[in-house]
């Protein structure tokens, strides 16, 4: 009998009397963006993107109107973006330039600002001649495809390219580097969506995602904070990882653009550290940077950090001179209170044969009084081979919030206690790969 079978037997014996809670299928969802390709916004927070046609004719006026209508009522409606122009392109036209090709396969030549002023940067097909066909009404094909291509034009890569997507489609085009939420099957950018391009309708998480990137209509949230440097200063060695988490969070945020995100490595004298009354202090050194410092605080609060745990401090009066576009983030203690519960544990069996194991894992957790899990969910779709291949061990525990690292390792110990070979269990930190942290959420993969 091998080790894993022993685990099955031990767990079965231990849990014979346990009942299981009802499954709570959790729709996971998201957006996958290439961060540097975000179009810049004006000081009022609005992003204005010029759109022009390379070869418009009077005979395609209706189709062009369909495209404009579809974009205005999708991306343009839910985010702080204004698509302007829509006239004929000239040699010097900026923004998105669209070529109408009656036989071509629709595409964009890159993502977001890579298209800025690029001739034929986007290609759309209105006639579906040649080897690109449309099986539904032309109006629907044109509108649905336009919504997808404009997603690329706003900087969004294919959702199914993400490593955390359970999708059998081959990755295509660029890879994003900024995940707003977990993988979204319903996204207009996901080839695996059973309703291709989600039939031109943005999914709830497409909406959330594009609003994180460009802000809500009329809002000022997306204004980009421009800085020369943000310096992260952990007061003690114990909080270095916490300071690093803040650094990763800010450096991955599309709302912050700093030339450098530096980390202080020298120890901070105790008398200096003692001056801080809250876990995190954001210091600015020029009057004009107060709004920027408050913006950083806002970002942390939006990410789930406690508002009371963060102070903004004006250092202008303390300093003899001002240092514009420079901010310090001091970390004294962990700004997030330690959680003792899980909101959700998602079990992801790579094959049908793995379901038995993940259900036993669930029973083990259920039977352990130290763990209180609000909801278990189990992935119903088959895991593509490439996703399974990326798992570092037969049983992988993934955490999505820095504070859950200890809990993930605790889970590893627990499963080892129940007889699962400890060398076959890996804990994977997903925080650096996500733009947002997901507190109190674990994924347990088995292959």
């Amino acid at each position: 009998m091998n080790a894993r079978n022993s685990f099955l037997l031990v767990v079965l014996c231990s849990l014979l009397t346990l009942t299981t809670r009802a499954q709570d299928p959790h729709p996971i969802s998201g957006i996958n963006m290439l961060k540097d390709s975000r179009w810049p916004s004006r000081p009022d927070g609005r992003t204005v993107i010029e759109v022009s046609w390379e070869n418009p004719t009077s005979s395609d006026a209706q189709q062009r109107a369909w495209v404009r209508d579809a974009i205005t009522n999708s991306w343009g409606k839910v985010a702080n973006i204004n698509f302007t122009g829509w006239g004929a392109a000239t040699a010097s036209s900026e923004g998105i330039r669209i070529r109408i090709d009656p036989t071509g396969h629709p595409h964009t030549k890159g993502l977001g600002t890579m298209l800025d002023g690029k001739p034929d940067g986007m290609v759309l097909n209105f006639d579906f001649l040649g080897d690109f066909k449309c099986r539904i009404s032309k109006e629907d094909c044109i509108k649905f495809i336009a919504v997808h291509e404009f997603g690329h034009a706003l900087g969004l890569a294919h959702e199914h390219n993400r490593a955390d997507c359970l999708c059998n489609e081959d990755p295509q085009g660029s890879d994003g580097d900024f995940y707003v939420t977990p993988c979204d099957l319903a996204s207009v950018m996901n080839y695996c969506n059973p309703k291709w391009s989600n039939h031109g309708r943005l999914s709830p998480n497409d909406v959330v995602g594009i609003q994180v990137i460009y802000g809500k209509p009329g809002g000022s949230a997306p204004a980009v904070t421009e800085l020369k440097e943000i310096r992260f200063i952990p007061c003690t060695m114990d909080v270095t990882d916490k300071a690093n988490t803040l650094r990763q969070l800010m450096s991955k945020s599309s709302a912050i653009r700093a030339a450098s995100f530096t980390m202080e490595t020298k120890p901070v004298p105790t008398k200096v550290a003692d001056k801080f009354s809250v876990p995190v202090t954001i210091r600015y050194f020029a009057d004009n940077d107060e709004a920027k410092a408050n913006g950083l605080k806002k970002l942390l609060v939006a990410e789930g950090y406690d508002d009371d745990a963060i102070n903004v401090e004006n250092m202008v009066a303390v300093m003899g001179s001002t240092i514009p576009d420079y901010i310090e983030v001091w970390t004294k203690t962990d700004p997030v209170p330690t959680r003792t519960k899980f909101d959700e544990i998602r079990l992801i069996p790579c094959t049908a044969a793995d379901r038995e194991i993940v259900r036993l894992v669930r029973k083990v957790i259920d039977a352990t009084p130290e763990y209180e899990v609000k909801a278990f969910s189990e992935e119903k779709n088959a895991v593509p081979q490439r996703a399974a291949d990326r798992l570092p061990a037969p049983l992988t525990i993934r955490f999505f919030h820095p504070d859950d690292e200890g809990k993930a390792y605790g889970m590893k110990k627990l499963l080892a206690l129940y007889g699962y070979p400890i060398d076959d269990i890996a804990v994977e930190n997903m925080v650096p790969r996500m733009s947002k942290v997901y507190p109190s959420y674990l994924e347990i993969w088995h292959k």
């Binding site: 629709p106 964009t108 890159g110 040649g130 066909k133 094909c141 291509e149 080839y191 291709w196 391009s197």
Partner: protein
Amino acid sequence: MKLLIAGLALLAAGPFRCTQKEALRSIDKVSLSLHQYPTRDVLRYEVDSSGIAVHLANSGTGFDSVLYTKAASAALGQSRQGMFRFREVRYANKCLEDGQVMTLAYHAGDSTVRRVRFQNYYHDDLQQLVQFINTQVDSTYRIGYNKDALLRGMEACDK
């Protein structure tokens, strides 16, 4: 010395060639799928011993409709010739989103022996296959494989 090298080369190449021939003989169908991204439709060209068929299928719903067929007894032999010339499983120009994506597959019975994916990529051997298919099918079903445009796109991507 030259004789020795030639002998070694023969030893190495002989069985390999034989294996290749056998493998080629076992191929009873070649399919070229033109993905219609971002839709889930696929225009699939199937070549077997009876000839060529053009299907329009959907990878999500299972919809599969034959649009065109033509008897062409020699087509299979021609189509499978290039099988060993594709060394990679994926040829991709990653600078384009969507665009022309094709999957070439070689089948033996119920199994797929080899599958090669082309994403906005020009390959001479694929061009030959496309040209061959285009000579066989009605003009409505000809495949557009634009060498110049694809090469331009690949060059722009490399810069």
